[in-house]
Symmetry: C2
Subunit: 364 residues, 2 copies
């Protein structure tokens, strides 16, 4: 359908600031002391739209290396960024090899079976791959036992073009967790067996753990979009790259004793004005925000009242001047990911990747 | 991109059983004693895909009336079901009228301003509309005061073609809540002022409250897809219309003391086999399932261990026979919406509408 078929204000709006994403990338690069800075763009670029985000990072920020979770995401990404280096974190299944080769996509190989599969490709030009060594998160990657076997299997290693060795931190959000230092030590030991091969350990949280964690490449995700991946202070200059704005469908005056929403979980204690906004849990604004979320309009922080419905929330607008059709910020510069995460107990990552298709998307 | 560009097993799978949706519709019709049965298909048909679900209900189940939340959803739906009756629950803004007329879409008018706007349309054939009377949920609809004014405004009423009057129940999930009877009484009183105009009160939960609540039209949503909208027993013959299946990316053997996932929140107490599955919170499988969710494979209920990651979960497969590449059910016939809701504290509605774009979708 044509975009002009839809009136501009019939949906809530998700505004994505591509310039902020570029600047956040540059700040990540700076934080990582100038080592290669890749971009995590899995899960549709954390919900922000891989089709817009990845080409912007490639052309305007100079980002050359991209990571996605699965092969379908990679094939899609390839169509937007023909010249980028693309890694697939989920590894390979036997019937996927042709797709990797055809689309010039690099697998992150996670176990010896996958490594054997890739080494057996009959090709004069060995296609590049990454190897993932698990150092404690126990999700994907070669186990310590497999790592030893692989390190000593010279003939296998000679049949591979390893463009990257990597591992993944389990607790980088917590700067004081001793697991960080343990994983760093284990990964450092592994890198000594691969002199000259680029190495990568740090996600967004890892970048903030300092230079020891940066190696040859960092892999920020959340930081690119303006979330804080750590229990420490948010790095200077990183800013929110998104704003969610709802529209007031109706404002009603409630008298003391009247309740709002499903289950009637909120009751007016005085005469008040309640605005119904066109955002609900089907847009990713979950019931964890029942009676505890915040919105922002007219320079004022406003309370979400009652239960979040599938398509609507109610906001107390008693103390501000606003009319039907007015805009209310649900997430962005004033209601930050950190604030939303704190009141809802959802992680910043969940809130960000939780945004759905129903928003009208505006890219600036 | 062409579908053949993507290997079939590179993503997790969401299988939607259109036949089950048709049969659930027929059962809703039966439960409602044969009164007109509309379908709630807002939020992309509760995440199941409006493009597939709505035409199926129209052509195969005989459903003629559809409700969506906003105008953008309605315009999209119109392109799939040119002959359906489509209502927009969110009402109208002044600049939307042309779109409603052009696409033959009926607004649900929620206040006197909206009613005036619609009544002022210069047209010989008055376009039909619905009127929403609020009876206590305090979200959308005419307040009791506005309701009285409207009932007595004969000249305004004469300028409208009211095809439906409706209200919405706040507590229909709880059969014993006294608010149900109060809303029923208030709505019944209103209907007496509109003899001959079809009336509708019941959503899925309302259908189960019995014949008094059915009036001339019921509006099921959750029941169509196989969720239980009530704290009572699930109606016979309603069945899950969806299945979410993940694929095992890797299986690792953990020794006692080894931990799994971010934050290392789960630790093996004995030697065990942990499978990493390609579904995470970016797919809508939220961290509310950390260390408490269930999966199903090899006729066995399996435990989710550790934190849910963005793209992965870990499942304890120690006690079953399964290999890398094997399929694991996360939601469907064995891990029901009710079970998933109970362990996660997410509502069934949130889990259902939470499914994201990253799944490979299969319609049967």
């Amino acid at each position: 359908m044509n975009k002009s078929d839809f009136p501009p204000d019939s949906q809530a709006t998700l505004t994505i600031d591509l310039k902020a994403i570029v600047e956040n990338y540059q700040n990540c690069n700076h934080l990582a002391g100038g080592v290669e800075c890749a971009a995590m763009v899995k899960a549709d670029a954390y919900g922000m739209g891989i089709e817009q985000v990845a080409p912007t990072l490639f052309h305007k920020a100079g980002c050359k290396n991209f990571f996605v979770a699965n092969l379908a995401e990679a094939i899609k990404l390839r169509s937007f960024t023909p010249d980028a280096i693309i890694y697939v974190l989920n590894g390979i299944f036997p019937n996927h090899i042709d797709y990797f080769i055809r689309h010039n996509i690099r697998p992150v190989l996670n176990d010896l079976d996958q490594i054997r599969l890739w080494a057996e490709i009959p090709s004069t030009a060995r296609p590049p791959c990454a190897i993932h060594f698990d150092t404690g998160i126990n999700r994907l990657g070669l186990s310590p036992k497999e790592t030893k076997l692989f390190i000593n299997d010279t003939s296998m290693r000679e049949r591979l073009d390893i463009s990257l060795i990597m591992s993944h931190l389990a607790c980088s959000d917590d700067r004081t967790n001793p697991m960080n230092a343990q994983q760093l030590a284990d990964f450092t030991t592994i890198t000594r067996h691969f002199p000259g091969t680029p190495a990568s350990l740090a996600n967004s949280g890892g970048i903030l753990l300092g230079p020891d964690y940066h190696f040859d490449m960092v892999r920020p995700g959340l930081l690119l979009f303006g979330g804080n991946p750590s229990n420490g202070v948010m790095p200077e200059n990183i800013r929110a790259a998104f704003q969610i704005t709802g529209k007031i469908l109706q404002i009603r005056t409630l008298e003391p004793g009247q309740s709002v929403g499903y289950g009637a979980t909120w009751t007016a204690s005085k005469t008040c004005h309640i605005a119904t906004i066109n955002i609900g849990y089907a847009d990713g604004y979950l019931q964890m925000f029942n009676n505890c979320g915040f919105a922002y309009a007219d320079k004022t922080k406003l309370a979400i009242v009652g239960r979040v419905s599938m398509d609507m929330i109610a906001v107390d607008v008693t103390d501000i001047k606003i009319k039907t059709g007015g805009d209310v910020e649900l997430l962005g510069a004033h209601i930050t990911l950190e604030m939303a995460s704190e009141v809802s107990t959802l992680s910043q990552y969940e809130i960000l990747t939780g945004v759905r298709e129903r928003y009208q998307r505006i890219y600036n």
